[in-house]
């Protein structure tokens, strides 16, 4: 009888977590602490501790001061973060546990800013609706050590590309290969989490390492995507190193010394596409180069940049050391730095749209999605400074407890040999093709998309269709990609999965015929107004029966929510439920 061991090395655990960043580690720790009898395994393509986004963050993490009201924070974010696209019940629940997530990290040994009495020191943000604590750049080193201490198993340098399912479609494992010897690795588990980060389309100037493997593997087993059209945004960056000028968005000046931030987006609380459309106009009309005047910090640059808190414990030594090296490198380019650095816009697309519920469970049985992979898809969503790291801890607490309960009650199911073999053959296919095309070709083409404001920030039917046409052409390249080692084999799948994510973003953008959003603003020049009559809806994306992409809308249950747009009328068939 055929045996899985004939196909590769087989690992068995109760809970499998794919991705060993802050979300994956928090999920694992919470699951293990919920039920210590469970066997919890975390797998990462890199080295756990170093892996994930948190090692590239560290400017702060959201928290809450005693006088701050979660409902007021949630109400603010519905208008200024999600533009009514939020799941408001989830949002309130989520922001209510901001402080608990800090305490969880503290419990796990992560270094946070502290008061003299040992309690966590939280600094109020300028709007005083929520707070921000300091956190070490190396939070995942602390979490890794704690995870090992409580008995979580960790496995480095294995990348997984496909999920295994039982006859009913529930997820029961995953398959991929080790990143050094390219040996097939098969994982069996009762509950699986994809904590793999979102998709960042490589080479767009960011440092995050997700290529959409988690999203794409979940999509292929039937998981829903939501809010994908709100994936595009823009950051103000130093021209010398392409790194963010955190909080400098109110201080941009043109060559004539005019503060153009105050012209296009006065006294903003966040960087917005509207500002950058204005910056583009300035440069196009000959009033560049642009610079950021940091000689006198405003509240936003002091708080968000963290430099207003260097001496009181919010900015940790490891983060400041890294900033120092980055700036030293930037100085080598000869482009102006100092207190009036030359700046530009960095546009980006980040696919974080895997749909998840309040426990960060997807619609697929046995599959959870903690971390940035579901940042938009979970629809508590919006944008809060510091919530990148806060999200990791919050998701972990919720997903870990939920997975532990599920895995405690569920019996293990043996994967189907034929399914595993077919997936293995698919994963290794690029090694055996008589072609010479390389994944770089696909990445280079995708990269071109983000260099143009009228692709990413200001969309129209014409621009969207042009990108979808490009995607169709690139899809023909995918079956011809070739690899010669583990690294290039992984890149072939990264390219395919990134391309799928790009298609999801632009298919959803094509469907939403209105302009809406804040930081992740969806701007349509052909539909320039917000349309509350027709578009208080979520767009969901899924893989259809025949493998084609299907999109469908879902009414946002505004009748249950406390914050509604002016003039909103409860649709027929629904009654006001929130105040009942």
């Amino acid at each position: 009888m055929a045996n899985l061991k004939d196909l590769g090395k087989v690992y068995t655990s109760d809970i499998l977590i794919i991705g060993g960043g802050i979300a994956g580690l928090c999920t694992a720790i919470k699951a293990k602490e919920t039920n210590p009898a469970l066997d919890v395994l975390v797998v990462d393509k890199g080295s756990i501790g170093y892996a994930g986004q948190s090692g590239k963050a560290g400017n702060g993490i959201t928290g809450r001061l005693p006088h701050q009201n979660p409902q007021a924070m949630a109400d603010y974010l519905v208008v200024n973060g999600g533009d009514y696209m939020n799941d408001q019940e989830f949002l309130l629940d989520y922001v209510s546990t901001n402080q608990e997530s800090l305490e969880f990290l503290d419990h796990c040994g992560v270094k946070l800013s502290k008061n003299e009495d040992g309690s966590i020191r939280v600094f109020p943000m300028p709007n005083d609706l929520w707070g921000c604590a300091g956190i070490e750049l190396g939070s995942c080193f602390s979490l890794r050590d704690y995870a090992l201490k409580v008995g979580v198993r960790l496995l480095d340098r294995v990348q997984l590309f496909e999920l295994l399912t039982d006859k009913a479609g529930a997820v029961i494992g995953a398959i991929g290969f080790d990143c050094d010897k390219m040996k097939c690795q098969i994982f069996k588990a009762k509950a699986v989490a994809v904590a793999t980060d979102g998709c960042y389309f490589k080479k767009v100037g960011g440092m995050f390492c997700g290529y959409g493997n988690g999203i794409a593997s979940a999509y292929r087993v039937g998981a829903l995507m939501r809010n994908a059209e709100f994936s595009c945004s823009v950051e103000l960056v130093h021209k010398a190193n392409n790194e963010a000028v955190y909080g400098g968005f109110n201080l941009v000046h043109n060559k004539d010394g005019v503060n153009v931030s105050q012209v296009y987006a006065p006294n903003a609380e966040e960087t917005t596409p509207d500002l950058h459309i204005g910056l583009w106009k300035e440069v196009q009309e000959g009033r560049g180069p642009l610079y950021c005047d940091l000689r006198v910090l405003d509240d936003m640059s002091a708080h968000i940049g963290g430099m207003g808190h260097v001496n009181d414990g919010r900015m940790m030594a490891d983060k400041l050391r890294w900033i120092g090296i980055e700036m030293a490198k930037a100085a080598q380019t000869g482009i102006q730095l100092g207190q009036t650095p030359e700046v530009t816009s960095r546009m980006y697309i980040q696919g974080e749209f895997l749909r998840a519920d309040r426990e960060f469970k997807t619609n697929v049985e046995g599959l959870w999605a903690p971390g940035k992979i579901s940042y938009q898809g979970s629809a508590y969503w919006g944008w809060v400074r510091g919530d990148g790291l806060g999200n990791g801890a919050q998701c972990g607490m919720r997903a870990g407890a939920s997975m532990a309960k599920f895995a405690t009650e569920k019996a293990a199911v043996e994967p189907d040999y034929e399914q595993v073999k077919a997936l293995k053959d698919k994963i290794y296919a690029p090694l055996n093709r008589p072609t010479t095309r390389k994944p770089k070709e696909v990445f280079d083409a995708m990269e071109q998309v983000v260099f143009h404001l009228d692709n990413v920030i200001v969309k129209s039917e014409k621009s969207i269709q042009a990108i979808l046409d490009m995607i169709e052409e690139l899809k023909k390249v995918i079956p011809e990609l070739t690899a010669e080692d583990a690294h290039t084999l992984a890149k072939c799948h990264d390219a395919a999965d990134s391309l799928l994510c790009l298609e999801i973003v632009f298919r959803a953008a094509q469907m939403r015929k209105e302009t809406r959003g804040c930081v992740y603003r969806h701007i349509r020049t052909d539909y320039p107004e917000r349309d509350n009559k027709n578009w208080l809806k979520w767009i969901n994306v899924k893989q259809g029966e025949n493998g084609s992409m299907e999109l469908f809308t879902e009414d946002i249950p505004m009748w249950r929510y406390p914050v509604r747009p002016e003039g909103y009328e409860i649709p027929e068939g629904h009654a006001e439920e929130y105040y009942v």
Binding site: K45, G46, S47, G49, Y50, A51, G52, G55, K56, D156, C179, K203, G205, G206, M207, C209, K239, A240, N241, N242, L279, W280, V283, Q284, G288, L290, R321, W322, I325, E326, K329, A330, Q332, T333, T344, S345, R346, M347, K440, E447, Q448, V450, F451, H452, L453, D454, N455, S460, K462, S463, A466, H487, A490
Partner: protein, 84 residues
């Protein structure tokens, strides 16, 4: 050892490499690999570098220098509209 790609140049003092492999573990883009023949870490996939400089930051013997060549390939503010 000098390794260059379109975006970055790596200067590695191979004699000083102590073999700790921290750079290999640090790099989340899989740039660094251990070369058993040279008995040192090498930037095997320099094209993947995202200019975070954390390999250089963590190198125990200061063997690594990462020199940016092209930081911004195409400045979005300078690019003309494509769809009139």
């Amino acid at each position: 050892m000098i390794v260059t790609s379109s975006d970055v140049k790596f200067v590695v003092d191979t004699d000083r490499c102590c073999g700790c492999k921290v750079c290999v573990r640090r790099c989340i883009e899989d740039v660094w690999h251990w070369d058993p023949e040279k008995n040192c870490a090498v930037p095997k996939y320099p094209d993947e570098c995202v200019l975070c400089y954390q390999c250089e930051m963590d190198c125990k013997n200061n063997c690594i220098e990462v020199i940016p060549q092209v930081v911004i390939k195409s400045d979005p503010l300078l690019n003309k509209p494509q769809y009139e």
